[in-house]
Amino acid sequence: MNPFLGSLELIFSGDREVFQVAATTLRFSFWSTAFSTIPGLILGIALSGHRFPGRRTVAAVVSSLTALPTVVIGLAVYSFISRSGPLGHLGWLFAPAGVILGQTLLALPIVVSLVYTGLSKLDARFAETLITLGAGRFRRLTATLFEAKYVLASAVLNAFGRVTGEVGVSMMLGGNIRWYTRTMTTTIALDTSKGEFERALSLGILLLGISLTVNALVHAAVKHEQ
């Protein structure tokens, strides 16, 4: 059978393993994005709202971290959660927690950087308007989050898209264990190396669908902001 038609059959027949892998991927991505969102928002807002010496340098470093290779993050986290590492007793290596930790560290600079950039572009009149209307610190914070909600949504969606499509962290920290830590990208890599193109292709199609959906949402968010 044509591999492409075979991949569609796997999708439309509801192949259990294909959808289990997809669900695992989305679960890992959801939690890592969620765990990176709160500290990412706080750090991004703090970076944009406070002037201190070296602020631009910090912003440049954070921006550089968004391009960090996933295997480097995987390696760094591996050294901490492997049996001989300081967090080895947690047993997170080759477990979902390890993947989620690595992906959280992958997503965090993306959220911080995009929030910082987005908030830095807010009109200077915005802050003056809040102050002159008598808003205190907390109300200024909530008003800023509301004003920049599409920028923030875009940051979170970008982070989600990045962790969904990564392979280095999942492979190194998850170990690609079937029915446990196997994600779409690690399955595609494995199946392709074994010559099993149909399942790899079916997961590729699903991954593409997720990626396009996330990008469409990001695009819509940015367009709405403009």
Binding site: R125, F126, E128, T132, L133, G136, A143
Partner: protein, 237 residues
């Protein structure tokens, strides 16, 4: 300083980088007074208004509000509102914009609804409450910004070119509202304008600025004798 001065400005100087943009040797503004700041673009009107509202801090000199330094003064913050020449509408509805300052003051919802509705009607914006504030015309935005300030019933209203973005109808409405507030005499209004005729018609006094310097203060045409002694040092008046 005059004992009745609401604002007392002395030896004020402000620079952007190395460029000195404002120098005011002395200026007193009395309670209930309407003072126009008149001058061409770049004469320092906006800078002075922002300093009066503590949105900018002077490099040197002093600005007192009710006898106390204006910097970080909570009475100034709660009692005065500045409206930009080109106001910034907050995201959300017109109602959210107008209610924003009231919510910041933690007023009850029933009072917020009542005062917001009154402010909308006063500025000819009845029916605008649910409109997206970001999608209004320049004149409508200016009226919303004025309503957003007036709803707070401030002691001091600082307006930067209040009719600059407005069409003829909106400008007329704004003039009427400002004249009404001025006639009541409870609110001190300081506004900037490059239109000397408009400024003098509305104001008790008109302070003329050129290249960041206060050059003279003339009485306005409101039919009232000037309320404050002109204290601009070196003022040719």
């Amino acid at each position: 300083m005059s004992s009745e001065a609401l604002f007392s400005v002395r030896d004020l100087s402000f620079s952007y980088g190395s460029r000195k943009v404002l120098q005011v040797p002395g200026l007193d503004i009395r309670t209930g007074e309407v003072l126009a700041l008149v001058g061409p673009n770049g004469s320092g009107k906006t800078t002075l208004l922002k300093i009066l509202n503590d949105l900018l801090r002077a490099d040197s000199g002093s600005v007192l509000f009710k006898g106390r330094p204006s910097a970080g003064n909570p009475r100034l913050r709660s009692g005065s509102v500045y409206v930009h020449q080109s106001p910034f509408p907050l995201a959300g509805t017109v109602h959210r914009n107008i209610a924003f300052g009231l919510r910041a003051r933690r007023l009850p919802d029933s009072e917020i609804r009542l005062r917001t509705r009154e402010a909308l009607e006063r500025l000819g914006l009845a029916g605008f409450g649910r409109r997206d504030a970001k999608r209004l015309s320049g004149g409508e935005t200016q009226r919303v910004a004025l309503a957003r300030a007036l709803v707070l019933d401030p002691e001091v209203l600082l307006l930067d070119e209040p009719t600059a973005q407005a069409d003829r109808a909106s400008a007329e409405r704004i003039r009427e509202v400002l004249a009404d507030i001025a006639a009541r005499g409870r609110t001190t209004i300081v506004f900037s304008s490059h239109d000397a005729a408009f400024a003098e018609a509305l104001a008790d006094r008109a302070a003329y600025l050129e290249d960041g310097r206060l050059v003279r203060i003339d009485p306005g045409r409101r039919g009232r004798a000037p309320k404050a002694e002109d204290t601009a040092r070196g003022n040719p008046e």
